[in-house]
Structure formats: structure tokens, C-alpha cells
């Protein structure tokens, strides 16, 4: 036969477990306990409420630009919930909920966006990377971390987040290729939130799915309802298990929506219609999960109120701690200390120049 279809090793599935009404597909429902479900809910709700609070702080001038996550809580929490503490999280810049799940403190989030690099410090024992601003670059770091895991024969996994826009970057393709060739334990999680700043998903690529891009590198890919925390979790668990057992990388495309601005520096009204956003309100990841939890009698409205109050208090305390810390970290000379492991002579001189300048200003 001169011309015939070549069979590829993988196909692209779409996975949805919890529909918009909170109705579950019982055949696909993951087998997890009640406490775990409550933890997923709390992680998402904390992400939402903290996001709202950050937006207020930014609008009040108490911190700088940041990238809100509202609408993407399920894609983030569902994915990181499949990780062990000893695994690695490699975020881009819109994974605040995932970072907090993984142990980043809320005050560090505020500190970083208020301009204190100390907020980017990863606490001891936590395997997270600082956020990455240039789009898609962190995918290569995750491949490198996974390479190190394999090198040391450790059974840890690296999970890297990126957006739909990042799939147009060369780094994303090079990372998938490296991970595929080296068969290293990395999970690529694409949060397809339909917008790369002002460029819609339809203008990002002609590909029908983003998940299919993994296939070109011999890496399995799956598309999931990114607003369905159970679907994201199930896909992530499968991918993490594959990686941990030595069967190499995977890619998960979470189809979700950026309900808010790209960052606090832009006005989405210039490039998208309100109606487009409204369609996604009905698909809200938290609302549908709460319906599901209530239908399973796991909690009541009263219980939700109590969790809301608890979260509100935690956020309040974190804001207070961050503002106190900002006063402690007020010394601008500290910035010279973070460039190298030691202060080289020329930086010591520049440090001294600024110190003199500051002293003159204060007199």
C-alpha cells in the first residue's frame, strides 16, 4: 500500500467528571476520602478569597502588579493535590493557589508583589521554584529538575504550570522534547485560560487542542475540564503515577477561563466582550464543587460560612504579618546581597555608594 495512515502511540481524550450543575459521573469519580475533598474545596476557596483581597490591596496602592487567578482554582488545586511534599512545583506567574497549597505563605505572596524579593524565598524543605515571568521558560527548568530526579534515582516528580500562550514558545517544545527523549518524571500542566494577555486562544494556534502538541514528542497528552477539580485531580494523579513509576512525562491541558484581568496593569474591556466572560460564570469551579459536596452531604451552607470566616481571618492575619515584615525589610541595601552567594568587591563599592546617598538624603 503506497499511502496509509500511520498509527500513533497515543490519542487525545477529554475528561470531565463533575458537570456544571455539580452532577458527578460515578464511574469516573475518584476514590478519595471526605477530608481530602474538603481540603480541595478549602484550597480553591482560599485561592479565590485571597485573590480578591490582593486585588483590593493593589487598588489601594499597598502592593504592585500581580496576575489574578480567579476562575482557575480547580486547574491549580486539582493538579498539585496529586503531588507529594517531596515533589517539585514549578510555577509560572498565575499559580498563587497552587503555591499556597504547596506551602508558600500568603505574606510571602504579598511581599513579592510589593517589591520585596524576600517574598520569593522558598522556605527550607519546600521544593518549589520562584515564579517565572518570561512566558514558558520554566518548562525547561522542570525538565532539568526531573532530569536531576532521574540522575539521583529518586522517585520524585516535577510539575510545571504554564498557559495557552506558552505553547507558542520554543521553550515549551524544547522542554517536551527533552523530557520525552530522556523519559524524565515531569508533568506539564497547561492552564488554557483562553487568553494570552489580549490574544485569544483561537489566535494562538490552529491546533484543535493544546494537549495534542505533546503527541509530537511521544508524550501522552489529555484535555480535561479545567473547572472540574475532580477531573483535573484524576488526570494529574494518573500523570504523576506514570512519572513516579519511571514511565516518563505527560501533559494535561486544563480548559478553564481567566475571569479577571491579565494583570492589574491591563483593561480586558479593550479586547474581550463581557458576554464572553458571563458564559463562564455558570461553569465556576467552586460553585459546582460546593453543589457536589452538598449533594454528598459532606457539608452544609452553615459549614461553608464557617470556612469562609476562617479564611477571612487567615487572610487578615497574613496581610498584617506582611506589612509588619515590610517595615523590617525596609533596608534597600539588602538588594545587593541577593545577586551572588558572596558580595564581590565591585558590588560592595556600589552598596557603599547607595548607603552614602541614603545617608545624605536623610540629613
Amino acid at each position: 500500500m503506497p499511502r496509509q495512515e500511520i498509527e500513533l502511540p497515543y490519542r487525545i481524550d477529554y475528561l470531565s467528571i463533575l458537570d456544571e450543575q455539580g452532577k458527578v459521573d460515578q464511574d469516573l469519580e475518584p476514590d478519595v476520602d471526605k477530608d481530602f475533598l474538603l481540603k480541595l474545596h478549602r484550597g480553591m476557596l482560599l485561592g479565590r478569597r485571597f485573590d480578591e483581597r490582593l486585588l483590593q490591596l493593589q487598588r489601594q496602592g499597598r502592593m504592585g502588579t500581580f496576575a489574578p487567578i480567579t476562575g482557575q482554582e480547580a486547574a491549580q488545586i486539582g493538579a498539585v493535590a496529586a503531588l507529594e511534599d517531596s515533589d517539585w512545583l514549578v510555577p509560572s506567574f498565575r499559580e498563587m493557589a497552587a503555591e499556597i497549597w504547596r506551602g508558600k505563605t500568603m505574606e510571602n505572596v504579598i511581599l513579592l508583589y510589593a517589591g520585596y524579593n524576600e517574598g520569593g524565598a522558598i522556605p527550607d524543605g519546600l521544593n518549589n521554584l520562584p515564579i517565572a515571568i518570561p512566558v514558558g521558560t520554566q518548562t525547561l527548568h522542570a525538565a532539568g529538575i526531573a532530569y536531576a530526579m532521574k540522575y539521583r534515582q529518586e522517585k520524585h516528580v516535577a510539575m510545571v504550570f504554564f498557559g495557552d500562550g506558552a505553547t507558542s514558545e520554543g521553550d515549551f517544545h524544547e522542554a517536551l522534547n527533552f523530557a520525552g527523549v530522556f523519559q524524565v518524571p515531569v508533568v506539564f500542566v497547561c492552564q488554557n485560560n483562553h487568553w494570552a494577555i489580549s490574544i485569544p486562544r483561537s489566535k494562538q494556534t490552529r491546533s484543535k487542542t493544546l494537549a495534542q502538541k505533546a503527541l509530537a514528542y511521544g508524550v501522552p497528552g489529555i484535555q480535561v475540564d479545567g473547572n472540574d477539580v475532580l477531573a483535573v485531580y484524576s488526570a494529574a494523579r494518573e500523570a504523576v503515577e506514570r512519572a513516579r513509576s519511571g514511565d516518563g512525562p505527560s501533559m494535561i491541558e486544563c480548559v478553564t477561563y481567566r475571569m479577571s484581568v491579565h494583570t492589574t496593569a491591563d483593561d480586558p474591556k479593550r479586547y474581550r466582550r463581557e458576554e464572553d466572560v458571563e458564559g463562564w460564570v455558570a461553569k465556576d469551579p467552586i460553585t459546582r464543587f460546593e453543589k457536589y459536596l452538598k449533594s454528598r452531604k459532606i457539608f452544609t451552607d452553615k459549614k461553608i460560612e464557617a470556612i469562609e470566616a476562617e479564611i477571612k481571618q487567615e487572610i487578615k492575619e497574613a496581610v498584617e504579618r506582611s506589612e509588619k515584615k515590610m517595615e523590617e525589610l525596609g533596608d534597600p541595601l539588602l538588594m545587593f546581597d541577593h545577586v551572588f552567594a558572596e558580595l564581590p568587591p565591585y558590588l560592595r563599592e556600589q552598596h557603599e555608594e547607595l548607603r552614602k546617598e541614603l545617608r545624605q538624603d536623610s540629613t
Partner: protein
């Protein structure tokens, strides 16, 4: 003492560090299975002796090679990755400049990136401007990177070992012409400190500041000048960042004259930095204007006669010295 080319000296440094520390591994295009069976090349026989886990041939993907180093370094390994030719640095530059160099800073000094990026460089092979392009001034301009550019095999060995043990990202640039020039290299274990220049020849009349392959040109010119009674002091920077300012300044204070010699093109070249430093710190010691001897501001030509014209030589250096002495 053993006579080694710079490639062999680099090879010895890699072997010693890989034997000493299991966290050290190398990766790059053809670092394992090379197209050349030449014992003078830096990664010769490492695959045979250390195996595929520690000597990794990678897909052709400079960004991924450098990104691999960033990820492996932050998770506790000490990668030494190779960028085959200096012009390909541009493909890896985002990983090196925006990530290796900045992530420590962005983590408030917490995360560390102990990695070495070895880059092969230098005109003289007739391979043209997309294989030869000295970009050390670019790299030196980026905060958070150390930049090492050795001139002798002995220095290359000690400096590479120091670079591998350094807790910062180090860009280590090797001129390939030096791979084929054997010189004495101590067989024993030693480290050469990063950030220390070396006076390779003492002199009283003029200071010649140089690095990498141009050291040979400087020493030849100095020998020629000596026959005419002009004693040149030759300062080999070895490290561009952090720059050993004291050695440069004290030499110029002694001689009162400065010529900077490098193969890279002139405009925006690192000679500008050296001259600015001397003007700021030792202006009153200068008895004459400084001079720069560099490659012309054109891409490296392929044609051998044109390439010879491109690379600065001792006649140019001697002429420059005579203009100010």
C-alpha cells in the same frame, strides 16, 4: 610537568571534579559521542569513563541545555553544560541571562544555581561568523553571572575546577585555538581563584591588559618590544566578572600607560570597561591616552586571509604601544 592543550586541561578538570563529586555531570551536543576522535578536545573519552548518566548527549536545543542546567542546579546537582560555539549562546541566553543569573536574586538570595556553562569560542578556523563570535562583553554586562576566559591550559584547569565548586552560575569561555597549543600543566590538584588577574610578564613602560587567546599575541609583542628597549607589563585578566580592578590599577599606576587587547569587536567591547576603570581610578597616573587593539566591527570572515586580518596580531599591538610610549 605534563604538557597539555587547553582542551586536555579542561578534560582533566572535568575528570577530577566528576570523580570528587557525584553531583557533577556534563551535558551538551556531542559531549559524549563526538564527530571528532581527537584526544585534544575537552570531553574526549569522558563518556567511556563516566557513562551515559553523567555524560549526556542532548538533542540540538541550546535553550534546553541551559534550562536543564538551571533545573538540575536548583535541585542540588552541579551541572557543567556545553554550548558548542559562542554564537549559539544567543539561543541559550534567556536561560542564562534571565534565569541562571536572576533567580537567586528573585528568591531573595535563597535559591542557588551552581552551574557552569562552557562555551567554545574563537576565530581562526575559517568557520565564519556564525561559528565564531566573541560575546564575553554581552555576558559580562548581565548581573548575576561570573565570566571566566582563561588564557593558558594551567589556568583553565584550576579555574574550571573553581567554577564547578562555585555556588554561582559561571560562564566559562574557551578559545578553541588554544586546544592545540600544549603548555605545562601541574598534574596535582589545585584551584585557581575566580576574580584574580595575573601579571604574566613584568614591565615598567606600558600595561597591556588582555585575556584568552590574545595573551599569546601580547607576550610575543612584549618580547619584540623588549628588543627595542620597551618593557611591557602583560596583565592577563582570566576573569572578567568579578573584575580584578586592583591588579589593573596598580599596574597602570606603575607604567602610566595602557593598551587593552582583545579579539572581540571594538564597539561595546570589554576594553571599554577596562579603559573606563583606569580613567576613573588612575587618571592622574596616565602619561598618554590609552589605546585599544581589537577585532574590527565586522562579523568574523570565513576567508582565511580576511580572517587573519580580523584577528589582532603582534604588529598591531606593537604599533599601538609605540604610539603612546
Amino acid at each position: 610537568m605534563q604538557q597539555l592543550g587547553m582542551g586536555q586541561a579542561v578534560n582533566q578538570a572535568l575528570r577530577e571534579e566528576m570523580t570528587r563529586d557525584e553531583r557533577v555531570f556534563i551535558a551538551g551536543e556531542g559531549v559524549g559521542v563526538s564527530i571528532h576522535d581527537n584526544p585534544m578536545l575537552p570531553t574526549a573519552d569522558l563518556l567511556k569513563d563516566f557513562g551515559v548518566a553523567r555524560v549526556k548527549d542532548t538533542p540540538v536545543s541550546e535553550a534546553a541545555i541551559a534550562g536543564l542546567a538551571v533545573g538540575a542546579a536548583v535541585s542540588g546537582l552541579r551541572p557543567v553544560v556545553e554550548i558548542m560555539f559562542n554564537p549559539f549562546f544567543t539561543l541559550a541566553s534567556d536561560m542564562i541571562v534571565n534565569h541562571a543569573a536572576k533567580l537567586r536574586y528573585l528568591s531573595g538570595g535563597k535559591s542557588t544555581f551552581p552551574l557552569v556553562v562552557r562555551i567554545k569560542t574563537g576565530a581562526g578556523f575559517g568557520a565564519g561568523c556564525q561559528h565564531a563570535h566573541n560575546l564575553e562583553a554581552w555576558v559580562a554586562h548581565c548581573p548575576g553571572l561570573k565570566v571566566v576566559m582563561p588564557s593558558t591550559p594551567a589556568d583553565a584547569k584550576g579555574l574550571l575546577k573553581a567554577a564547578i565548586r562555585d555556588d554561582n552560575p559561571v560562564v566559562f569561555i574557551e578559545d578553541m585555538m588554544l586546544y592545540f597549543v600544549p603548555e605545562p600543566v601541574p598534574a596535582e590538584e589545585y584551584l585557581t581563584p575566580i576574580g584574580k588577574a595575573e601579571v604574566k610578564r613584568q614591565g615598567r613602560d606600558v600595561t597591556v591588559v588582555t585575556w584568552s587567546k590574545m595573551l599569546g599575541v601580547a607576550l610575543k609583542a612584549a618580547a619584540g618590544l623588549a628588543q627595542e628597549g620597551i618593557e611591557a607589563e602583560v596583565v592577563d585578566l582570566r576573569t572578567l566578572v568579578p573584575l580584578d580592578r586592583e591588579t589593573i590599577i596598580s599596574s597602570v599606576r606603575k607604567t602610566g600607560r595602557l593598551v587593552v587587547l582583545h579579539e572581540a569587536t571594538r564597539t561595546g567591547g570589554f576594553s571599554g570597561e577596562v579603559c573606563a576603570l583606569v580613567t576613573e581610578e588612575a587618571f592622574s597616573s596616565l602619561k598618554a591616552p590609552f589605546r585599544r587593539v581589537t577585532g574590527p566591527d565586522i562579523p568574523v570572515p570565513v576567508s582565511p586571509p580576511l580572517e587573519r586580518f580580523y584577528i589582532p596580531d603582534e604588529e598591531q599591538l606593537i604599533a599601538a604601544v609605540k604610539e603612546i610610549v
